[in-house]
Amino acid sequence: MILDKKLSVSASPHDHSKDTVTRIMLDVVIALVPSLIAAFFLFGPRTLIVSAVSVGTCVLAEYLSRIVMKRHQTIADLSAVVTGLLIAFNVPTSMPLWMVVLGDIFAIVVVKQMFGGIGMNFVNPALATRIMLIASFPTEMAKWNAPFSWKTEATTTASPLGEIKNIFRSGTINDDSFAELPSLMDMFLGKRAGSLGEVCAIALIIGLIYLLARRVIKITIPLSYVGSFAVIMFIAGGFNLTFLAYQVLSGGLLLGAIFMATDYTTSPINFKGQVIFGICCGILTALIRLFGNLPEGVSFAIILMNILVPHIEHLTTPKPFGTVKEKKKKGAEG
């Protein structure tokens, strides 16, 4: 029997994996949830307000800019939600909401959509926003709420990063140097001052494990980033393990290494490129933290490396299968 129905034809392959962009972004959102929960307990209900406002603004900004630019709608891919959450995670809990909104618009409209939308931005939108906010509102961006102070009366306190820098500059590092700082266990659990989503190391690591299990990211970038950072800090701290641990657990290192340096769009695709990228991020972060004027170096390090990604990519493009390496012939061949 000859079929008279019109059949659909398309190029092979005719089977596809279940992965979709939306599912990947949803996985990132899920991976961020433990940190959000931690932030709620540490810094109070305002964390949820800041996050909701940030996510809402990002999605709305994306929606409107796609309309203005007359391009197909992309809010369903959830990438704006990820950006919104990451921006919220990168500001202090006490940040005035209008500043958060301003940052969101900057991230989505200027950094992301003006360059073509998802997959086209050359720097990470959340990090670019963090830097823009630090430059524009230095006071508000350095007003850290003390953990659990929301229950009684909101008090601000110094971020451990400044203190650690002073320890390094004093020149002598021994176990007494860290008396002023929260205990390492507190640092690990997030009982310290810092941006909304960066403080709780354990929650961030749970997120990392989830992303790895879901194969959303590979360990390459986080490991090479934190690894190279740790090596430098170990040497700089005179091989003091406590100094190293404080450095790794303070500031936004883990948030940056797990969630921002691994941003697909602004990191290299191939393994070799990712290793180079991660190591350079680690070195830059360490140098800025040790010798820079600002206490934190994560965002600057990653942004700088974002800009270099096309060059790293160019240098690490793999040779096609079977390409014979042209060795310079110097007498006997190996």
Binding site: L3, V9, D15, I118, T323
Partner: protein, 448 residues
């Protein structure tokens, strides 16, 4: 299910880079190959292989029988075409290949007798040249799907020093189980084929390679390998089950660790790769002289009422084969000739199945749906999946802007269109289509 590797069985020398883990859907693995009811009419296109098309050697009104040559050419890279039924030639003219390409063809109306051609007798072989000539006369082309005339592969010059014959039983395409059945049902001919290839081509080593997810076929092959003497050096090898393990270059790498350079053939690194069904065919042909007039194929997919493995006279239309398999149980949306990864979507069921078709798969609407194409997010899944170390997203970009120099530099021509990139793309990009676009951009530029 993976199996334990018994002693004496080799393991892959080098693993395939990337690749994808597809759902296997080997639903027909336990189904014996059955002959279909002889078709009333067959259409034999003159282009059933890679290379030069044949010219019809019969005219309308001629009476032909099974195994009689109906098309041939003097060109080297080609293979003659034989009638697969006995009956009368009713038309010689343009016919459509499954791909939609129109070529010359011979249409034969069957008399239902299936009378064999009286000229059929086992070939007499005394030299290597005789052997290669006989393979050409058999009409054999690679039965694994590529359709490259086998005798061309065998006619390698002596100085190539081919030291390893790889019998490919990987069958990494989902759904298809005909090679699997071949191992189980046709061991005598497989042994015979290997012996002849080894004898006439003077190849010292033979590796029979199979993926580690096919325990029954593995056992059958183990028996086959056991039939050989120690000095024959016939070894069985298990490979990791990953798509596209069965691709020729991947096979060579897995079995020997050698890499075929871009633009070169396995012969350039001392290997000859042959599909297990092709080897079995050689074994049978040299015994009986019956040329390639039928082949096995898997008929499966969500729209097929009774999935089967069938033996089909070449030139039978898709619709007759599907009718034999109980017709459609759901309305088909997409029908493939070949597997879901590299097979081709056909535009009609009124096209003949040719020598290189190893499956017909029919899918209903839900299973045929494509992902909507979205923007690339640079996740890198395509590059990670590419067994040839290419960067599909870069190729797409260069193809769109027509940058021929860069396309050549990043190796577009080593792409074998296995589909691993497009399979793994979360943005639903039709990357294989972009690869083909890139190749045509390069081809066009070369013409100028």
């Amino acid at each position: 299910m993976s199996l334990k590797r018994p002693e004496g069985v080799l393991k892959a020398v080098k693993q395939v880079r990337g690749g994808v883990h597809v759902s296997h859907h080997k639903n027909t693995a336990d189904m014996e190959v059955v002959r279909i009811t002889p078709p009333k009419k067959i259409v034999l296109p003159m282009q059933q292989h890679i290379g030069a098309p044949c010219e019809p050697t019969v005219k309308v009104g001629d009476i032909v029988s099974v195994g009689q040559v109906v098309g041939d050419t003097d060109k080297f890279v080609s293979a003659p075409i034989h009638s697969s039924v006995s009956g009368k030639v009713v038309a010689v003219g343009d016919v459509s290949l499954p791909s939609g390409v129109v070529t010359k063809g011979v249409t034969i109306e069957s008399d239902g007798e299936m009378t064999p051609y009286e000229g059929i007798k086992p070939p007499v072989i005394e030299t290597r040249e005789d052997f290669v000539k006989a393979v050409r006369a058999s009409g054999l082309v690679g039965l694994g799907g590529a359709g490259f005339p086998t005798h061309v592969k065998l006619a390698f010059p002596k100085e190539k020093n081919i030291d390893t014959l790889i019998i490919n039983a990987a069958e990494c395409e989902p759904y298809i189980t005909v090679d699997y059945r071949e191992c189980l049902e046709n061991s005598k001919n497989i042994i015979g084929g290997i012996q002849l290839l080894q004898k006439w081509l003077e190849i010292p080593n033979v590796i029979i390679a199979i993926e580690d997810n096919k325990p029954q076929a593995f056992k059958a092959l183990q028996k086959i390998a056991g039939e050989f003497k120690v000095k024959d050096n016939v070894k069985l090898m298990t490979l990791k089950s990953v798509y596209p393990q069965g691709a020729e270059k991947m096979m060579v790498q897995s079995a020997t660790g050698r890499r075929v350079p871009p633009g070169k053939l396995p012969a350039d690194v001392g290997c000859l790769v042959m599909n297990v069904a092709s080897a079995a065919f050689i074994g049978r042909y040299m015994r009986t002289g019956r040329p390639l007039v039928s082949r096995s194929m898997t008929v499966d997919g969500s729209a097929i009422a009774e999935p089967k493995n069938v033996r089909v006279p070449i030139g039978t239309s898709i619709s007759e084969i599907i009718d034999f398999c109980g017709g459609f149980k759901e309305e088909p949306e997409k029908i493939l000739s070949g597997g879901p990864m590299m097979g081709m979507a056909v535009f009609s069921t009124d096209v003949p199945m040719i020598k290189s078709n190893n499956a017909i798969l029919a899918f209903s609407k839900g299973d045929a749906a494509l992902k909507k194409e979205r923007d690339c997010i640079r996740c890198g899944r395509c590059s990670a999946a590419c067994p040839m170390s290419l960067m599909p997203t870069l190729i797409e970009r260069y193809a769109k802007i027509g940058d021929v120099e860069r396309l050549n530099k990043i190796g577009i021509n080593v792409c074998m269109e296995c589909g691993s990139c497009a399979y793994s793309c979360p943005a639903g990009k039709p990357l294989v289509q972009y690869m083909r676009l890139a190749k045509s951009v390069v081809r066009e530029a070369a013409k100028k």
